[in-house]
């Protein structure tokens, strides 16, 4: 041990030997290459690394290259929160008219579990569809009069009528559909894709969520943030919720009184100070910090431009319906979804609550369809017109279906309702790699059980990933000593609906 070392044990704050200083100078030269030298190399190294370290939006995914040739580059998920009634909207069952008001045929029940609101379904009365159905388009898809606009675009859609799930209550079922687990805490589909495929936007997050609810809806379900959570994946992959107001991103606006030019200048100064720090201590994270603040500034300019619809032609605005200019509506969110897609956002989740018609099939369901039907159809058309439908996957659907039997009093039409029903429901998909104008799978003659070409939630998830070029069995993340994936240990790609 040298004298110096010995002394240091006694007093760790002894002046440092001179050689440290020389070292510091060398180091400074070493790092001072700044944005074009080693600093950038270091930064690039960090971006690819999956660690605790910082990462801005645009980045390559964990996968590097995709497993399969991708058919879709991005997803717009129009999530209908609360469970739309499949038997009133898309899954036409003429026999329901015949059995209207008669007890549920027992052979359809067999030990099934329902929500406590229904309890034992034995003896419940069957309920016919509220509105008449008709076939539409070349494909002849059945759509009820609740959905006149969707009816016009059926030849672009693929209906899956044999969906089924596990959970009977909203939050667990939504969590199951979006994250593969009924319990909150797993990464959601958007987070998985953001992690696997990376983000193609420089200025916006790769996974954006928007929420809406129809006005006057009596039983809207809460939007829990685990519906777009990243679970055990690094939190940069979680969905960024754009709020339903003029400031979609929290803390986006400069504080009142601070001019944009001043902010720009101050951020330049901040970057210079951080650069000085970097040269002094050599922590590559500082480069990421500089990039992070720069991107924050970019967002400050790009988001207002994103939400400024003045560049949209009138006929486009009209297509989305009268609510399109009202922030927080489904129509507004659908147009925003298209604009986000154009700007490189890869997963856009528009959630619309209020589909929980326990006693409002003949009342609130009309509002619900009025608010969502036109914008959903418009989005498909709009994407198609722009040539974006080919590589954009649009999904429309809820967490489960609704009972073909009634909840409420059959004599009181005003209060007709249907309870939660996980055994059969309908979703539609369009665009990126999906065969247009087809119907896949079927439920039985009462819409009770999925029977033909059944599609489980995990199959559905596997298919979405497949369309994006991902083998769902191979996109895994190690956590708590285990390799996790979206589809757990299940899931089969429904190849029949893929182009």
């Amino acid at each position: 041990m040298t004298v110096d070392q010995a002394w240091r044990i006694l007093d760790p704050f002894a002046p440092k030997p001179v050689q440290d200083r020389q070292l510091a100078i060398n180091r400074r030269q070493f790092f001072s290459r700044g944005a074009t030298g080693i600093g950038t190399a270091a930064l690039a190294g960090l971006l690819g690394r999956d660690s605790l370290l910082a990462t801005p939006f645009k980045q390559g995914g964990a996968l590097g290259a995709s497993h399969l040739p991708p058919k879709a580059k991005r997803v717009i998920y129009l999530f209908q929160n609360g469970a739309p009634t499949h038997v009133d909207l898309f899954d036409y069952k003429p026999r329901l008219h015949k059995l209207h008001g008669t007890p549920v045929p027992e052979e359809y029940l067999g030990g099934k579990r329902f929500s406590t609101m229904t309890g034992n379904p034995k003896g419940k009365l069957m309920l016919e569809p509220v509105e008449p159905f008709q076939q539409h388009g070349h494909s002849g898809a059945w759509v009820s009069e609740f959905m006149p606009h969707t009816a016009k675009v059926v030849d672009d859609l693929c209906f899956i009528k044999s969906m089924h799930t596990e959970a009977v209550n909203h939050a667990p079922a939504i969590s199951f559909l979006l994250s593969g687990s009924e319990m909150p805490g797993r990464p959601t589909m958007g987070a998985w894709l953001n992690y696997g495929l990376g983000s193609s936007s420089e200025e916006l997050p790769g996974f954006v969520v928007m929420t809406s609810i129809s006005k006057g809806t009596s039983c809207g379900q809460i939007f829990y943030d685990f519906y777009w959570g990243s679970g055990f994946l690094p939190s940069r992959f979680q969905g960024s919720r754009f709020r339903g107001s003029r400031d979609p991103v929290l803390y986006l606006k400069n504080p009142d009184g601070m001019k944009p030019e001043l902010r720009r200048g101050l951020l330049d100064d901040l970057a210079r100070l951080n650069q000085l720090k970097y040269e002094q201590v050599g922590d590559p994270e500082i480069q990421t910090r500089i990039a992070q603040y720069e991107m924050a500034y970019k967002m400050q300019t790009s988001v207002p431009e994103l939400t400024d619809f003045s560049d949209e032609p009138e006929h486009v605005l009209k297509m989305y319906g009268p609510q399109v200019k009202e922030p927080g509506t489904f129509a507004y969110n659908c147009l925003m979804a298209r604009r986000l897609a154009e700007r490189g956002v890869n997963f856009i989740q528009c959630m619309h609550a209020g589909w929980d018609q326990h006693n409002s099939l003949t009342t609130e369901l009309y509002n619900q369809c009025r608010d969502t039907d036109q914008p959903s159809a418009a989005l498909v058309q709009d994407l198609k017109m722009r040539g974006m439908l080919d590589d954009t996957l649009v999904i429309w659907g809820g967490e489960f279906g609704r009972t073909p039997f009634i909840q409420g009093d059959i004599r009181n039409r005003k209060r007709w309702g249907r309870d939660h029903h996980p055994y059969a429901f309908t979703v539609w998909m369009a665009g990126g790699g999906i065969k247009p104008g087809m119907t896949y799978g079927a439920s039985d003659d009462l819409g009770f059980n999925a029977v033909e070409n059944k599609v489980h939630v995990h199959d559905f998830q596997a298919t979405v990933m497949h369309l994006l070029g991902i083998d769902h069995e191979k996109l895994t993340y190690r956590f708590q000593g285990r390799h996790f994936r979206l589809t757990d240990v299940h899931g089969h790609v429904v190849k029949e609906i893929c182009t």
Binding site: L52, F57, P205, I222, V249, K259, L270, K277, A296
Partner: protein, 1017 residues
């Protein structure tokens, strides 16, 4: 640097890599099973050849020694010493796609290096070791007594691996590092100066001790614990109702500050309620297990919820104390660890004894404890003291009064109103089935067998005079059910028939007395008192009011005709209890008579006169109290004291009632049977299990009962291999950013093998031997050189070699948790309100966050004034939508023990634009303007306040430029200066013009956004 020099550097770097590689292969002769082999097997093989019996393929097990050596029919997976004969090696290196392991569709594959390692391990004899975290903690011998053991353990390895070790950081850096780590607040200028001025040896230790003694220490330590305990102020899920668990949060702060040993800290929280003579504090601590979410969603099945809550308790215990991923064994045996599904449910059975049910989403689901804040508790103590003082005064005053009371009593009796009840004293009392005893003050008490029905006869001698009615008093007795009136299931009675008969002299016949009407203190529905004399033996009088009987009852009976009583007359009263309700026989009662024209129950309110009429030796305690109170009332000073005392007692009661309700733990008197649940589904019951610990961990001590208390004590047994390791690792993680074991949440077979296993064990042993002394442990770590090293990265090659600083050749530099960034901003700007504890506060939040998330059902009402500037720990935490200005914090939904550190542009936007920081910038600017006169001095002051150091000249250049920019901008548009100064609630009286203030405020806001400010260095 010349090109030549640069190349040299590069070459040296390259050389290091080459050397490193050589060293590695030289080392490889000593393949460590634990470090090298088990991770490969675990990662790639255990899924199908591991502990889970159901998933096991080809009946082959590779997670046990027996398994790898088992005879598979003339061959075995591993033939020690002979890789060529080992089936394992043959299969992993097979060229046949179908033969090769792991299977091609399993998404797992072995690298050549891994195959070589396995071969070398087998060639070397295939030594098998148990998983290191399940093996006993062995204290490594550290011989060198002159240096800090941590430094010896770290430096030995660093030297061996040729790391360049960083020197100790400078003092300014160190004091900020320490204060942020241990208090979550930056050092004040005074604190820095005191430390810098302390040139004597031991200065650092003195600073550490001062810091550990500050109350902010407990607040900092509590944050991580709250994240692990999933603490929040609401239930979570739909409805997200508000709860009041904050007294538990305050207890955590206090426990850290009091340095409650970690074993007690644990036992109280897991099982404080089960400790003998548990104190209120010990019960409060059990709130830990009740911090889980509560689901109030309509349509949810109560039992399903309840089962989830018990899962949550079990798994939280597993993560926090053992670093085990118990949840993996809910549905099947654990895939990697030896934990069986049955063992999961055995753990579950410890917690499954809670009576808390899953229905309704009540944020005060029983059992609850009413516990106050420290201020409230102080108030309570104060009140109790005052009451006690008054009692003493009253006693003294009564003593002074002497026989004044006897005189007063005589006077009272003389002046007594005529309509009072006269107690009757029985001569004889008998029942058909029970034993009737005659007690003091005319009371009759029933005991003996407890018959379904009974009939009593009681005989009273009467005094000469007139009688117009009788009163029956039913008096509560502790021997009756719930201290009520009878030995029935409820303590209620049903008097079905009541007869009064008089015998004027011994020779006369009994004459029945007819009752005209009756009234009672309470009548239970149709069981009216009038039906005791309606000639219907099935009807009767009862007093059940839907809650346990909490008062005495009485009934007054008016005779149809008043009677004249002759001398020597006797009254015989018959009471029948003939109800269909079993055991409803009145157990404790007395009768009185009256001569008033209209006898009512009100005529002797409080029974004072009756009490006075009773001979002093026959008076009951309540009679005595009654008399005393009345006596005191006529003495002015005494009555004043009484009045005051009563007021205080009322206040005490009110204070207690205002205490928040904290959900706590309890066990049901009758144990609940726990079942294994197929696939973890609440309604798919499998085999029954009893509380027990896994076979592969030390057994429950023989002295312990298999309950939560036994479990808690088992965790803290010195031979438990996990608790101490897991705990010291978490504290290490707090100080260094990453734990010695990176997988803080998982110490199972799939855990990371640490760089410094001996250091972890040394710390664990030290922690155990100190008696689980947390402050001592923290002090031990912080006084090492390893903790104090400079975090400067000397070259990019050094960085590349150890980007996460796992080898600890340098100090850790990482971004502060977002809550600490806020606390720091409040502290440096002088806004911080250091008030501790109490209910959570509503600091700034953008408009509409709650109502948007809850469809307007929850509205945020921001606090005002000083509450806005409380430490982040006290910020109200709505579970479904947490405080928006905190990023990378635990969701507080399930237990989280590993902090996240990511950077998105949104995080930058928060610190750039949230009112919290804009206001802090302004407040800091006002401070700086006031405290110094020259701009140059002010700039230095601002930097010192925020960073705790002097600015460098080139930094000052930039600051000057920023100030100029800002002043220019505000000068051009003075209105914008006013607007920029308007953010936040705090107001400053400032002599400076708005433009100046705004300019400085903008500069200070920039300072709060500096990378150095956001980081701990």
């Amino acid at each position: 640097m010349t090109k030549q020099k640069y190349l040299e550097t590069k070459f040296v770097g390259l050389l290091t890599v080459v050397l490193w590689g050589t060293l590695c292969s030289a080392n490889a002769k000593k393949v460590s099973f634990e470090r090298d082999v088990r991770p490969i097997l675990s990662d790639n093989c255990f899924h199908c050849h591991g502990p889970d019996a159901k998933e096991r393929k080809a009946k082959l097990r590779l997670d046990t020694k027996v398994g790898v050596l088992a005879d598979l029919g003339g061959y075995s997976a591993v033939a020690p010493g002979d890789p060529a004969k080992s089936e394992l090696i043959l299969r992993i290196s097979s060229d046949d796609r179908e033969d090769r392991m792991p299977p091609h569709d399993s998404n797992r594959h072995l690298s050549q290096k891994e195959i070589e390692l396995l071969k070398e391990w087998i060639a070397g004899g295939a030594k098998w070791e148990g998983h290191w975290t399940f093996e006993p903690i062995v204290r490594p011998v550290v011989k060198d007594k002159k240096r800090h053991p941590i430094d010896i353990l770290v430096d030995t390895r660093l030297k061996k691996e040729n790391f360049k070790v960083n020197p100790i950081a400078d003092r300014e850096t160190l004091v900020r590092r320490l204060m942020l780590d241990l208090t979550g607040l930056p050092p004040t200028t005074e604190q820095i100066q005191t430390f810098l001025a302390d040139k004597k040896p031991g200065a650092w230790e003195r600073l550490v001790d001062r810091t550990l003694a500050s109350s902010a220490y407990g607040e900092r330590m509590a944050w991580d614990w709250l994240e692990a305990a999933r603490y929040a102020d609401t239930n979570g899920y739909q409805g997200d109702r508000e709860r009041t668990m904050w007294p538990w949060r305050d207890w955590v702060v206090k426990a850290f500050n009091d340095n409650l040993p970690y074993d007690k800290f644990t036992i109280w929280q897991l099982a404080g309620d089960l400790l003998p003579d548990a104190t209120q504090e010990q019960i409060l601590a059990t709130g830990f297990n009740r911090n889980h979410m509560i689901n109030g969603e309509g349509g949810r099945i109560a039992e399903e919820n309840r089962v989830e809550y018990v899962f949550d308790m079990t798994e939280t215990m597993g993560t926090v104390w053992m670093g085990l991923t118990l949840n993996c064994a809910r549905c099947h045996d654990h895939k990697f660890d030896p934990l069986l599904q049955s063992e999961y449910y055995q753990f579950n059975a410890f917690f499954n004894q809670t009576p808390a049910n899953g229905g309704g989403g009540d944020p005060f689901t029983k059992p609850v404890l009413q516990a106050g804040s420290s201020a409230q508790n102080e108030e309570l103590v104060k009140l109790r003291k005052q009451i006690l003082a008054f009692e003493k005064d009253i006693d003294r005053r009564q003593g002074e009064q002497g026989d004044a009371q006897a005189k007063w009593e005589a006077r009272m009796l003389k002046d007594k109103p005529a309509n009072d009840w006269q107690r009757l004293f029985p001569k004889k009392a008998k029942a058909d089935k029970q034993t009737l005893q005659i007690l003091q003050s005319g009371l009759v008490y029933a005991s003996g067998e407890n018959p379904d029905k009974d009939e009593y006869q009681v005989v009273y001698p009467l005094e000469e005079g007139k009688i117009t009615g009788f009163k029956l008093e039913a008096v509560r007795h502790p021997k009756m059910t719930h201290g009520g009136l009878a030995r029935s299931d409820s303590g209620n009675f049903v008097l079905t028939d009541l007869r009064f008969n008089i015998r004027n002299s011994a020779v006369d016949k009994l004459v029945p007395l007819e009752v005209a009407s009756a009234s009672a203190t309470y009548e239970q529905g149709p069981l009216k008192v009038s039906s005791t004399f309606d000639n219907n033996p099935a009807s009767g009088w009862a007093v059940w009011a839907g809650k346990p009987i909490d008062r005495d009852h009485a009934a007054a009976f008016r005779l149809k005709k008043s009677i004249k009583v002759a001398k020597g007359a006797e009254l015989e009263i018959t009471l029948k209890f003939n109800s269909q309700h079993k055991h409803h026989n009145l157990g404790h009662f007395r009768f009185s008579s009256t001569a008033t024209v209209t006898p009512t129950l009100k005529s002797d309110k409080g029974g004072l006169i009756t009490a006075l009429q009773t001979q002093p030796d026959k008076r009951s305690p309540s009679d005595k109290k009654n008399i005393l109170e009345a006596f005191a009332a006529q003495d002015e000073s005494l009555s004043a004291m009484r009045k005051k005392q009563n007021e205080l007692e009322a206040k005490l009661k009110k204070t207690k009632a205002s205490f928040p309700k904290v959900m706590v733990m309890a066990d049901m008197p009758k144990p609940r049977q726990t079942f294994m649940l197929e696939r973890g589904l609440y309604n798919q019951r499998g085999k029954p299990v009893t509380p027990a610990v896994p076979s592969w961990l030390p057994p429950l001590p023989k002295t312990e009962k298999p309950n939560r208390l036994g479990l808690a004590r088992w965790l803290m047994e010195p031979n438990h291999p996990l608790t101490a390791r897991v705990t010291v690792n978490r504290f290490w993680q707090m100080l260094f950013g990453v734990g010695l074991v990176k997988t803080t949440e998982n110490f199972g077979v799939q855990t990371e093998y640490p760089r410094y296993p001996e250091l972890l064990d040394w710390l664990a042993a030290e922690f155990l031997e100190s008696g689980w002394n947390v402050k001592a442990l923290v002090r031990t770590i912080i006084t090492s050189e390893t903790y104090r090293r400079s975090s400067t990265i000397s070259s990019f090659a050094e960085y590349e070699r150890d980007p996460e600083n796992r080898y600890l050749a340098r100090g850790s530099r990482f971004r502060l948790p977002s809550w600490m960034i806020r606390d720091q901003a409040l502290a440096v700007s002088g806004l911080l309100n250091p008030q501790m504890g109490g209910k959570s506060v509503y600091s700034y939040q953008p408009d509409g966050i709650w109502s948007e998330a809850t469809f307007g059902k929850k509205r945020f009402r921001q606090d005002s004034g000083k509450s806005l500037y409380r430490r982040s720990l006290y910020t109200y935490w709505r579970r479904i939508i947490g405080p928006t200005l905190f990023f990378d914090v635990a969701k507080r939904q399930v237990c989280e023990v590993k902090p996240l550190r990511t950077n998105t542009p949104m995080h930058a936007l928060t610190v750039m634009n949230d009112v919290t920081y804009v206001e802090a910038g302004r407040a800091l600017a006002d401070l700086v303007l006031k405290e110094a006169k020259e701009n140059e001095v002010r700039l230095r002051l601002a930097v010192r306040k925020v960073l705790g150091r002097e600015p460098a000249p080139e930094e000052l250049d930039v600051f000057r430029q920023s100030l100029r920019r800002a002043l220019d901008s505000f000068e051009k548009d003075p209105g914008s200066a006013d607007r920029f100064l308007s953010h936040g609630d705090s107001k400053t009286e400032s002599e400076f013009p708005p433009v100046t203030r705004a300019g400085w405020a903008a500069l200070c806001l920039n300072l709060l956004n500096l990378d150095e400010t956001l980081n701990k260095e």
